[in-house]
């Protein structure tokens, strides 16, 4: 019979390296037509980080996302970056990008101020324009300002900046210190069906509420969460590198290393928790790794809820789950607890 259960798990996760310096640098160059080029040493490994960085640069410069072209991942061309690791790109490289764009913008403002007859600090950049705060009709297209800066004033609007998350080393005896600049938080709730005769677990639904600070691009945040959950499901139920007694891997292939296929994925509901971190670029923190942190815990709690069996070692394969069910029965649990709703099995 299939028994349904639900499980909850929450977590916290830091952004960036543990104390160790993990700087990023960035350069933003505004072209004479008001478009911009961002140089970053980070690497696009699928997360969409280049899109996010373009959005951050665009926001700071007051232009559109596709006005920013990102050049990345070339040590001859791009500035130092600690890389696509530790969920740090949006926060650390994002901060560097914003600061670099701010410097380029400052040059534009210095050029624009006399053209508009105001002080630079009275200006703002919006909608591809540089305009006077509270007097948006007094404006110049950013292209005109950039062109003027480059070819009349001879002051190219280029900004370079770097960012390293502030930390305080941990005491070696007590571990006390400030190892990370910021943390994100999340909760996932899993709903599963457990076949109490075979131990098979089917994950039906996962609700994921994640904090990433400001979501620079909610669509990409959703993608990260959905993907992280698939990894979490593999960790929870299926995946394991096995060794023989001589230390050689038994299953180094995708036939016998069981990762989730499209058929193994549940319905996922993503919720982005409103949050703003004043230390991040436009309030952003990060989202990459945390997405797969609470999934296994939530699923294992749901299994426990469904059949009253606690599996203490991952992955909770069907065989382990069945063994745990049998054990919990032996331990005098006359009735399976937690079976709020027993639903019919396939054979019934």
């Amino acid at each position: 019979m299939k028994r349904r259960g639900r499980g909850i798990a929450c977590m916290w996760y830091p952004i960036g390296f543990t104390v160790a310096a993990n700087p990023s640098a960035a350069t933003v160059k505004v072209n004479e037509d008001g478009t911009a080029t961002l140089l970053t040493g980070t690497v696009e490994t699928g997360q969409g980080s280049l899109t996010v960085l373009a959005q951050i640069a665009a926001e700071e410069l007051g232009v559109a996302t596709e006005d920013v072209h990102v050049v990345s991942a070339d040590t001859d061309v791009t500035p130092m970056d600690t890389g696509a690791i530790a969920s740090r790109t949006t926060y650390v490289t994002g901060n560097a990008t914003r600061l670099a764009a701010e410097k380029a913008k400052a040059i534009l403002f210095n050029v624009a101020a006399p053209m508009l007859g105001v002080r630079p600090d009275q200006l703002e950049a919006r909608d591809r324009k540089i305009q006077v705060k509270r007097f948006p009709q007094r404006q110049l297209p950013i292209s005109q300002v950039a062109h003027h800066a480059l070819f009349v004033k001879g002051d190219p609007p280029i900004g370079s900046a770097s960012f390293n998350p502030p930390t305080v080393a941990m005491d070696p005896e007590t571990g006390q210190g400030l190892p990370f600049a910021t943390y994100v938080y999340a909760t996932q709730i899993a709903e599963v069906d457990v076949d109490d005769e075979t131990g098979e677990v089917e994950v039906l639904r996962i609700v994921a509420s994640h904090d990433c600070g400001t979501a620079i691009n909610p669509m990409l945040v959703e993608g990260q969460i959905e993907g992280g959950i698939s990894m979490g499901i593999g960790l929870a139920l299926q995946e394991e590198i096995l060794f023989d007694d001589k230390g050689r891997q038994i299953n180094p292939n995708l036939t016998n290393y069981i990762m989730p296929t499209s058929l193994d994925m549940p319905e996922i509901e993503v919720d982005i928790v409103p949050s703003y971190d004043p230390t991040g670029p436009f309030g952003a923190k990060g989202v990459g790794e945390p997405t797969s942190v609470p999934t296994a815990a939530a699923i294992l709690n749901a299994i426990h809820d469904a059949v009253g069996a606690r599996v203490h070692s991952l992955p909770a394969t069907a065989e382990k789950v069945l063994a745990a069910i049998k054990e919990s029965r032996v331990q005098g649990t006359k009735q399976l607890p937690g079976t709020r709703r027993a639903i019919a099995g396939p054979a019934a």
Partner: protein, 464 residues
């Protein structure tokens, strides 16, 4: 068929291709369709603010058209293919490597062993990993020699001709066994426990003494592979100024360049690393693997050399997720407030350090969970074993400890008859909470995430 013959045949065919009557045979390079056709930008995205937009990815269209060029999609004139011979034995001394037969094979352009590598060690924190093992094998996936040949198949067949003589050593595979004083040392004379971390806050004994209930449990997790769909790939080539360019599937080019320069004993400005687009990382592509090998084979042959991991090598010879054995002891009050928590973590580090120190640190710091606990002690050890290297993987130990602390939390809730959501809300961090390392936390929304998830799920309604 004889390999030499096949190579000649290929050349002959290419001659034949120049015959105009054979025009059909000319390998066709379909010119890429010049997208986008339209240059108009959708109105909605012309406007600022840019932040918060569901902006499309500039690489999205190239991906969908199959036009994204990953490393394996790049070819250069005269490029050779490299393959690495794997030890297949977990712990051994290398007595002898005989490459003569492989070198004599038609189509084989160069063979490389560890002794030819200028500085044969690398690693992001400890430089304990050889590029190719020269004296000793530390795990079965270690490389012991490499071949560059005109085709991948010839390179593979040449690996079979390389004879390596081993003197087997006892292998230590279990981290708890490896911790014992009399266990064989993976990297003698160094201790198998190669990093340790401790966090102490409050008074643990006092906390347990004040607790109404004490719960104890051991949890453990498995070794997991990242499985990026793109296997590790790299291409090395030199120019006549002695400058090296490496195309590689690396998520962290700065460190990659440092390690390549270090192992090849080159000034850093003579090394150029390009990562194009990486086909999946998840932490598994944050350090070099075969880059120095392709570089040295390229140097030996004077030709560009490409190497791509097989799917098998992805498992045996790249990094993996740390299995962790986790002991939790938690003291709680009758109403479910956590008063004291003691955690001990034993991380299986595999054969080399890789990102173990980072993983150890994060796992240890995060292990008490996102909860206000006055009295905490968390201690973590990472231990060498003669197994596949464990390194960075999405979450650096956090998924493992989360599984433990959240399973533990539910068991406590159940024993006390408190709803799992409620017990978390009673303990969860809030703005200004103090972390186990004494850090005052800001922009804390763990409660909000709990409440929103429960609301979205219908937690209250689903309770009967």
């Amino acid at each position: 068929m004889n390999d030499k013959l096949r190579v000649t045949e290929k050349e002959l065919t290419q001659e034949a291709l120049r015959d105009p009557t054979e025009a059909l045979r000319v390998p066709v390079v379909t010119p890429p369709v010049p997208y986008p056709i339209e240059t108009l930008v959708p109105e909605v995205r012309q406007q600022t603010p840019a932040v918060g937009q569901r902006a499309t990815r500039p690489d999205g269209r190239l991906h969908g058209l199959g036009q994204t060029r990953y490393i394996d999609d790049l070819t250069f004139p005269g490029m050779l293919h490299a393959k690495i011979k794997r030890a297949g034995i977990a712990s051994a001394l290398i007595k002898r490597i005989d490459t003569s037969e492989a070198e004599a094979m038609p189509g084989v352009m160069a063979v490389l062993t560890g002794r030819e590598i200028p500085v044969n060690s690398f690693g992001p924190s400890l430089q304990d990993q050889p590029v190719l093992c020269d004296e000793r094998v530390f795990h079965a996936g270690d490389g012991v020699a490499a071949v560059a040949a005109v085709t991948e198949q010839i390179a593979l067949e040449a690996l079979e001709k390389i004879k390596v003589e081993y003197e087997p050593l006892p292998a230590v595979l279990d981290p708890l066994e490896a911790m014992k004083d009399d266990a064989p040392k993976v990297h003698p004379p160094a201790s198998n426990i190669y990093s340790h971390k401790i966090i102490k806050k409050g008074d643990l004994e006092k906390g347990f003494a004040e607790s109404d209930h004490i719960f104890e449990a051991r949890f453990s997790t498995q070794m997991v592979e990242h499985v990026p769909l793109e296997p590790h790939a790299s291409i090395g080539m030199w120019d006549s100024n002695g400058r090296l360019t490496v195309y590689s599937s690396l998520g962290r080019i700065t460190l990659g360049r440092t390690d390549i320069a270090r192992t090849l004993r080159l000034p850093i400005n003579r090394v150029h690393v390009v990562a194009t687009i990486v086909g999946g990382n998840f932490g598994g592509k944050n350090e070099i693997t075969q880059e120095p090998v392709v570089a040295l084979l390229a140097k030996k042959t004077g030709r560009p050399v490409k190497a791509v991991y097989s799917r098998g090598e992805e498992f045996t010879s790249s990094t993996t997720r740390h299995p962790i054995i986790m002991d939790y002891k938690t003291g709680v009050s009758r109403d479910g407030r956590i008063l004291a928590r003691q955690v001990k973590l034993y991380l299986d580090g595999g054969a080399y350090c890789s990102w173990s120190e980072t993983t150890l640190g994060k796992a240890c710091i995060l292990s008490p969970g996102p909860y206000n606990i006055e009295n905490v002690e968390a201690e973590a050890f990472v231990i060498y074993t003669n197994k596949t290297v464990t390194g960075a993987m999405r979450g650096f130990g956090a998924p493992q400890v989360c599984f433990a602390y959240e399973s533990h939390m539910d068991d406590i809730a159940k024993a006390l008859g408190i709803d799992p959501l409620e017990i978390r809300l009673r303990n969860a961090f809030s703005e200004g909470s103090i972390s186990p390392t004494g850090q005052v936390l800001h922009s804390v929304v763990v409660r909000e995430s709990l409440e929103r998830a429960a609301e979205r799920y219908g937690w209250q309604e689903s309770q009967s």
